[in-house]
């Protein structure tokens, strides 16, 4: 039950949100009837059409273009298993073309699970008394950062619920606190944010503390489903307020923004087109598309029947398809696959889905890193996590398959943000930075945190392999990386291009 104070805060904010919706300057970009008409029209794509779409997606990897809605619908409706194998290969090819064969690692950090909303599928909904909700104190936050940095992590996505105790001031305070911490060689160098939609003035405050990316997941692009799952009278209820959350962020000057859908709330094929229209709308309005796209799948949460019984739950087979389609649809975007998914599926999707960013060693309970030891504690979590590998184990698995693990945080510290970053990704040249900085940050991890076994494979196989790649593709950068690798061995840290 909400307190009187919480209710008053929610009522006041809701009034302001509804007022914003009334005066919203933006044109709607989601038309459910049109999306269904396209999906229906493209329900039986022929082989040649699919081959043409794959060829176009490969071309788009170097031109920055996205697929058309009809093309995404054709892919989503495809049944032919042989063609699907070719699509998976195309997704992997595109990802390597744009970003190189590296996987960027991050960790989620839940800072506050207090929430005034009542989303039907969420373990943290205010009416769910079976899940303990809490907010970290600054001292508890320090402890989380200590544990995370001791694991070797450099990148975070911090998560906040929508609540007066985790308002913008608290968000700014905690992000600044995270950046200020240093434990030996350990520090967090990039903080991305997953938080509720804000007003422009609030985004301006967040921008000042130097965040990486601001994520707002739409959850579902189907307005009727959205309204059913996000009760009226809650702050998450107004659909358009959330739909234009990242437009307001861009208006405030936050130019690295990230999209996402919670797959399992509505038809996955429809949601893919929703994501595409959203990316197109951002491009049209601001010239900068989504920095990343996330595609969490609905997972069981304690005392949350909808999370188990939704008729739109996505099978593993369909999930692989939608991840690959996202890569073909929007080649330049970062593609985030989280530890919600089981380890074998995650390994498979690196190769089949063109995934570019993954978390590992994740704890999704508030205070989880400091207090939990690699198990799920359902009564403190938003949902159940599936891949419980440590960072070390995850990196070892990446190395065994020849991928380059990366803790890179260089771009946003080198002014490669927004419209400066986009051309690098759109014209598939960012990989030169990705591989160079991947090598450097991986070596840093090996020196400071890795087991002898991992260090062996990292130093003898992975780093030489990617240095050779860099040598062949951009010799001057390889030369500089070799110099910096030597300096890191002497004790210098945070070397990057």
């Amino acid at each position: 039950m909400l307190t009187a104070k919480e209710k008053a805060w929610r009522e006041k904010r809701l009034k302001e949100i509804l007022k914003w919706e009334e005066n919203s300057p933006y044109e709607d970009f989601i038309d459910p009837a049109k999306i269904w008409e396209i999906l229906e029209r493209k329900k039986n794509p022929d082989r040649q059409e699919i081959l043409d779409i794959m060829a176009k997606a490969r071309d788009n990897a170097s031109s920055g273009a996205m697929l058309a809605p009809e093309e995404v619908a054709a892919l989503a409706n495809l049944k032919d298993p042989d063609l699907w194998e070719e699509i998976f290969e195309t997704a992997f090819w595109i990802k390597n073309k744009v970003y190189g064969n590296r996987i960027v690692l991050f960790s989620p950090l839940y800072i506050s699970s207090l929430c005034v909303n009542n989303c039907v599928y969420c373990g943290f909904r205010e009416s769910n008394e079976f899940v303990e909700k809490k907010r970290l104190s600054l001292e508890q936050l320090d402890e989380e950062i200590r544990v995370l940095t001791e694991m070797g992590q450099k990148r975070l996505i911090v998560v906040y619920g929508e609540h007066p105790e985790s308002d913008v001031a608290f968000m700014c305070q905690t992000i600044e606190r995270i950046y200020s911490q240093k434990f030996g060689n350990g520090e967090i160098r990039r903080v991305n944010v997953n938080a509720p939609p804000l007003f422009k003035e609030e985004y301006e405050e967040i921008k000042k503390v130097g965040i990486g990316t601001y994520q707002v997941f739409q959850e579902t692009y189907h307005p009727d489903t959205y309204r059913r799952l996000h009760p009226k009278g809650t702050l998450k209820g107004p659909f358009r307020w959330r739909l234009f959350a990242l437009h307001r962020a861009q208006e405030a000057g936050i130019d690295d923004v990230a999209l996402g859908v919670l797959f399992g709330l509505y038809d996955w094929r429809y949601e893919l087109l929703g994501l595409l229209y959203h990316a197109q709308a951002l491009e049209k309005e601001f010239g900068v598309g989504p920095h990343t796209i996330s595609y969490p799948r609905l997972e069981p949460a304690m005392n949350t029947p909808f999370s188990v019984h939704s008729r739109f739950r996505v099978s593993d087979e369909d999930f692989k398809k939608l991840v690959a389609i996202i890569r073909l649809m929007c080649p330049y975007t970062g593609s985030i696959l989280t530890a919600r998914e089981p380890a074998p599926l995650r390994q498979e999707l690196i190769r089949k889905g063109g995934v570019s960013q993954m978390d590992a060693g994740s704890q999704i309970a508030v205070g989880g890193y400091a207090t939990l030891k690699r198990e799920n504690i359902p009564d403190k979590q938003q949902f159940i996590i599936q891949d419980t590998r440590s960072i070390e184990e995850f990196i070892f698995d990446l190395c065994k398959e020849g991928y380059l693990p990366s803790f890179c945080t260089a771009c946003y510290r080198e002014g490669r943000t927004g419209e400066n970053f986009m051309p690098l990704a759109k014209y598939a040249t960012v990989k030169h930075f990705c591989i160079a900085n991947g090598i450097l940050t991986f070596q840093e991890y090996l020196l400071d945190y890795a087991s002898p076994q991992l260090r062996e494979i990292g130093e003898k196989e992975i780093i030489p392999r990617y240095l050779s790649w860099l040598e062949e593709n951009l010799a001057p950068a390889a030369k500089r990386v070799r110099e910096l690798l030597a300096k890191q061995k002497e004790g210098r840290r945070d070397c990057h291009l």
């Binding site: 946003y412 510290r413 002014g415 490669r416 001057p476």
Partner: protein, 93 residues
């Protein structure tokens, strides 16, 4: 609008980046605003070289990044930029 953007219109900084690229034969020059660890891109000129950039503070939260070898001392280059910026500020006032 951030203080940096309010003080230095994008068109002014863009022109300055072009001028600096030409005058010092640099591959790329761009400006950014310091926001904590973030260097928030404002505008720039030239072509990305994928080699390490050098950077220096100019005024307030404004920093410059450049790629390529300077034909002069770094100080001379930075003084040129600072003078241009001061001149620009005077014009704005």
């Amino acid at each position: 609008m951030s203080p940096v953007m309010a003080a230095f219109p994008k068109s002014f900084l863009q022109e300055l980046a072009h001028k600096a690229c030409e005058r010092y034969s640099l591959k790329r020059v761009y400006f950014a605003e310091v926001l904590g660890k973030r260097r928030h891109f404002l505008t720039g000129a030239g072509q990305e070289s994928f080699l390490p950039s050098k950077s220096a503070a100019l005024k307030g939260n404004l920093v410059v990044f450049w790629q390529g070898e300077l034909p002069c001392a770094e100080e001379e280059f930075l003084n040129f930029l600072k003078e241009e910026i001061n001149r620009g500020l005077c014009r704005e006032r």
